[in-house]
Amino acid sequence: MVVVTKQELQFRKFEELACISSGVHQLHPVAPFLVILAYIITLTSYPSDAFINLIPLTLFPPIFARLARLPLGLLVRSTLKVLPLIIVIGILHPLIDTRPMQIGSFTLHHGWLVFASLLIKGFLTILANFLLISTLGISGLQRAMKTLGLPPVFYLLFTMVYRYIMLLMEEVYRVLRAYELRSGRKPKLRAQEWGSLPGGILLRTYEQGLRIQHAMEMRGYSPKQPFGKEQSLERKDILFAASWLAVFVCLRMEFFHG
């Protein structure tokens, strides 16, 4: 199989995961949405060097993935692909912040602690976002945002960006596949091709986006109406969200008191 096709199939995987039938998938979208939002807020609220305190929070993704029957390995692998970006952002900390710190019998620069903490926070935040999209899909996310009273423009913008990125990725993969098959299987583009290809890809994506929008309008789509089934909040949704929120609050309080 051509390399880009493998990547293409993987990139579509998130949407397919949102169709799994698990207890978490059957909850009202607002419950997992709030839980993951609270998780991210808890995660990012710790001070920049609270490396040790972050460790209990690493348990959340495996537990959530287990409950939602999501393949954690796939989500972790996808998260690892974004990790270099976080490394680039945080790599200067150990060089700039050279204050010595004593951890047990080891002495190291304070910057290393900040860097490690940033790495974990970044990794877990991205992983949490992947968990969210794999649980709710685009329609669930829209429903959750609507239930929380966010203005339509917010979830409309979100949907447009998400859908455009999906189309763009598809078009990129299509062009790269065509390129790869006619370039003696050399996956890298030559410098002189970088000029024309992106322009063509963007235009084609725009046109396809327009056709899809037309198809949606022809079937009565209104931007104010989120996709998917109407659901009402039930006791199990509130219980799920409240339990996790309590866990996060306890962990955070522990930090203040401990």
């Binding site: 579509r12 949407e15 397919e16 949102a18 169709c19 899909g137 685009i138 329609s139 859908r163 396809q208 056709r211 899809i212 037309h214 198809a215 949606m216 309008e217 022809m218 079937r219 009565g220 789509y221 209104s222 109406q225 996709f227 998917g228 089934k229 109407e230």
Partner: protein, 244 residues
């Protein structure tokens, strides 16, 4: 429902790059009839369907749907009477699963969940794609995508179907299934196609387009037997009429 489902008068359209694709097109379609729109590539078939569907604004001329003038104000209302099957089903299928895609139209029409499910089930059953209901549309074969795209139209309240190359790129069995389905429908159908055998099979009339105009119109049997006419517009006689 009016006697005339679609009335087009003096329709012209020029693309922004200056290509005049349609020039003074006029015709009408009686309710419940099935009319094939045939012509060489680039003669303006798709553009004509898009203009009728209100997706493009005509430079000149008017379109009436059920004898109501299509304009900017009522385009969304009149679009509810229309179902457009795009040339490429990939443009039409955008939800995560086939079921969600088929349910999309009835849901936007404001039906109750029970009715949405009933309509989707019925449309999927009718198009033979009920077994695909939980699959993602982008993983389907071309033929399956085509049938699902038809199901998305059948689940809505559309009374007029505008079908752009509905048998394009289908294998013989899928093509036959699509033809049988389209032949059974009670909707008014305008079918842009290169499949002249299908036109002969299921269409009451054929309209021949040539360089942005209607070159001829008449009963399918008559038009599709007119070899000089077909050859003059870059088409060939249907195989079923040529083969002994």
């Amino acid at each position: 429902m009016a006697d005339i489902s679609i009335r087009v008068e003096g329709l012209s359209y020029t693309y922004p790059d200056g290509w005049k694709v349609l020039s003074d097109v006029s015709f009408e379609l009686r309710t419940g009839t099935s009319v094939a729109l045939v012509g060489a590539n680039g003669c303006g078939k798709t553009t004509l369907l898009w203009l009728i569907a209100g997706l493009l604004e005509a430079e000149q001329g008017t379109v009436y749907i059920d004898e109501i003038l299509l304009d900017r104000k009522n385009v969304r209302t009149l679009q509810k009477k229309l179902g457009l099957a795009f040339q490429h089903p990939d443009d039409q299928l955008f939800m995560t699963t086939v079921r969600q895609d088929v349910e999309f139209g009835p849901r936007n029409a404001g039906y109750e969940e029970d009715e949405i499910s009933r309509r989707a089930e019925e449309a999927m059953k009718r198009t033979g794609c009920l077994h695909l209901s939980d699959r993602p549309p982008y993983r389907l074969s071309g033929g399956e995508k085509r049938m699902v795209s038809l199901a998305t139209l059948l689940a809505t309240d559309a009374e007029i179907l505008l079908l752009d190359e509905p048998t394009n790129a289908l294998d013989p069995r899928s093509r036959r299934n699509a033809i049988n389905l389209l032949g059974e429908l009670e909707h008014t159908r305008l079918i842009a196609t290169h499949d002249l055998d299908m036109a002969l099979d299921i269409c009451d009339e054929v309209m021949v387009m040539h360089r942005g105009s209607i070159a001829a119109r008449g009963p399918a049997q008559l038009i599709l037997k007119d070899r000089p006419l077909l050859e003059s517009v870059g088409l060939e006689s249907p195989l079923s009429l040529v083969l002994p």
